[in-house]
């Protein structure tokens, strides 16, 4: 009987895989508490560019990002999960993650944001890199704290050139490691999407 169940599970695997299009927290209860220690609860909402203006919204996001959307996780109908974080009944912030191409695989870049859209914490839920420990170190991720979408506006995520606070962020890995630029793209995309879905500035 167990063998039969396992075999059935094997055939069901494609269905399980095909459902994995969004970017959700793996363990939301614990992740929310870790990213927002003062939180007492959270709700989730689902947004997509399709529902938030369609092709116009996508074009605006691409323009703000300075790059085109490509691949399964960068389409107009991808559903994004936004976690609204509460302390009792007061909204204290948001958590939102995006998928981003990396040097050795997909990155999942989550941001904990305050209610004004400022970054409180950067969290890699998935990262394939020889320098993963350096990228995940607080000394690197803390450099993003306090940054907003506006800070990224003058930074070119393709060339890595720009001015202001973002340009001052130090690459923890050797210059040849592209994951630094990929991370910046992921963060910028995340902030632009949150502005489209939530802050609407």
């Amino acid at each position: 009987m167990l063998k039969h169940l396992l075999l059935s599970l094997l055939l069901l695997l494609p269905l399980l895989l095909s459902a994995a299009t969004g970017c959700d927290l793996n363990d939301p209860d614990n992740d929310v508490k870790r990213l927002f220690p003062a939180s007492t609860g959270y709700t989730t909402l689902y947004a997509s560019l399709q529902k938030s203006g369609g092709k116009t919204a996508l074009a605006n996001v691409e323009k703000a990002l300075g790059d085109k959307f490509t691949g399964l996780y960068e389409t107009i109908d991808v559903s994004y999960t936004i976690y609204k974080i509460y302390s009792r009944k007061t909204l204290i912030g948001y958590i939102h993650g995006v998928n981003q191409k990396g040097e050795y695989g997909g990155l999942q870049v989550f941001l904990a944001l305050d209610t004004k859209g400022r970054i409180l914490k950067l969290y890699y839920q998935k990262l394939s890199s020889k320098n993963a420990a350096k990228f995940k170190a607080t000394s690197f991720t803390s450099q993003f704290t306090g940054l907003t979408r506006t800070d990224f506006a003058t930074f070119d995520i393709k060339t890595g050139k720009g001015s202001g606070k973002v340009a001052a962020i130090k690459n923890p890995a050797p210059a040849t490691d592209k994951d630094f630029l990929y991370t910046l793209r992921g963060v910028k995309k995340n902030l632009i999407l949150m502005n489209t879905f939530i802050f609407k500035q």
Binding site: L10, P14, N30, S128, A132
Partner: protein, 398 residues
């Protein structure tokens, strides 16, 4: 001079609303019947196709290893066991074997997957035999490995998208810190291969330090081989476990058997309702035309003529209802497919409803036959009407 068919058709048109409602009831029954037959054929065919897509009929694994993918999911990749690679030689000697494909499943723990890390799995395959068995696998980009020892990977559709890889990109095997070049991305196949990262099994043996070891062997048997007998023969090998794809089919079939019984019951009820409806409509019609039938008989219509007339009316109703119902079932087959997928615990890929011309003709035939059976009683009662009694009274009692 009007024909019996013409008179029957005219009679039905005289009570248009009642005839339309009866036809509608028959059409609904036909829709259920055609969809049910279509489901029986489509489901079995799609399931067989899914099983065939596995490429081999028998999977030989090391004893204790239920199945690599299931092991991965349920035991976190810690339950892998091995069989020596020379098991292939023993199997090649079997005359029942058409083709063999060795496989090596390996897992690593990726500390950077989530907060607490996670397991990543890789399937080592033989670039010569595996593609031959999985002929349905086609490439979106690139192709299979260049040689058996290449540091290369082919990614299933979902794996490629999840890792956002393209041909020429690299993947990193955690723990081993080995870079592997992506040489191919597969098209979506709707099978477990979509989520798989493939590498040459020889390469994986070197990377993971398991030289001359395999986790499983896929066995494609020659046609007309007695699979059950061959499975018994395989158990003569030491420390192996045999997984037959026939077992998978039986498991899935038993999962859906309850749903099929329910659908069958609904179909039978629908047919019974239609039968009663047809009988009622025709009886009502005979009742209303009691005097008219009497006059027809007094003018020379034989008992057989009246019986044929009433029976024909039934046949026309059922025939039209059958055609409309068949059309409905074809037009709504996608919606029915979606509904069944929603209800069933497991649905194979491909169409669950397969409706073709023979099935439609068979269903219409069954509906007309059922209608004719239902029409026997009203036709018999109409044929037995006595002219004098009928002319004397305006309505009859049946």
């Amino acid at each position: 001079m009007p024909t019996i068919t013409g008179i029957a058709y005219k009679n039905l048109r005289r009570k248009r609303v009642r005839s339309i409602l009866t036809v509608f009831g028959i059409a609904l029954s036909t829709w259920v019947l055609v969809s049910l037959f279509g489901f029986n054929e489509g489901y079995q065919s799609s399931l067989n196709k899914d099983i065939d897509n596995l490429g081999f009929q028998v999977l030989l694994t090391a004893k204790g290893c239920p199945y690599e993918a299931a092991t991965l999911m349920l035991q976190g990749g810690k339950g892998l066991r091995y069989m020596p690679e020379n098991t292939l030689d023993s199997l090649r000697a079997n005359p029942e074997v058409e083709e063999l494909t060795p496989m090596l499943m390996q897992t690593v723990f990726d500390v950077n997957k989530g907060e607490d890390g996670g397991v990543v799995g890789y399937l080592g395959i033989d670039p010569v035999t595996y593609p031959k068995m999985k002929t349905y696998l086609t490439f979106r980009q690139g192709g299979w490995f260049q040689d058996a020892n290449a540091l290369e990977a082919v990614l299933g559709y979902e794996a490629g998208e999840l890792e956002q890889r393209e041909v020429g990109d690299k993947i990193l095997i955690p723990e081993k810190n080995v870079e592997v070049m992506v040489v191919g991305i597969l098209n979506r196949s709707g099978t477990q291969d979509d989520g798989t990262i493939f590498m040459p099994f020889k390469t994986m043996q070197n990377i993971f330090g398991v030289q001359d070891q395999l986790t499983s062997i896929g066995i494609k048997l020659k046609k007309d081989t007695d699979i059950a007998a061959y499975e018994e023969k395989l158990y003569e090998l030491e420390d192996v476990q045999v997984v037959s794809m026939a077992q998978v089919k039986n498991t899935i079939s038993s999962l859906v058997s309850t749903a099929r019984v329910m659908v069958m019951s609904i179909a039978i009820i629908a047919i019974l309702i239609a039968m009663v409806g047809v009988m009622n409509t025709i009886l009502m019609s005979v009742l209303e035309r009691y005097q008219e039938i009497g006059i027809m008989k007094s003018l020379g219509a034989a008992t057989a003529h009246i019986f044929r007339l009433i029976w024909l009316e039934t046949a026309i109703l059922c025939f039209i209802g059958g055609i409309i119902g068949s059309g409905l079932s074809i037009a709504l087959s996608k919606a029915t497919d979606a509904l069944i997928r929603y209800v069933l615990p497991y649905s194979p890929t491909g169409s669950l409803i397969r409706i073709d011309a023979p099935l439609v003709l068979r269903s219409i035939g069954i509906i007309v036959l059922i209608g004719l059976v239902s029409g026997i009683y009203p036709a018999w009662r109409a044929a037995r009407i006595k002219p004098i009694e009928a002319i004397r009274s305006s309505e009859g009692e049946l």
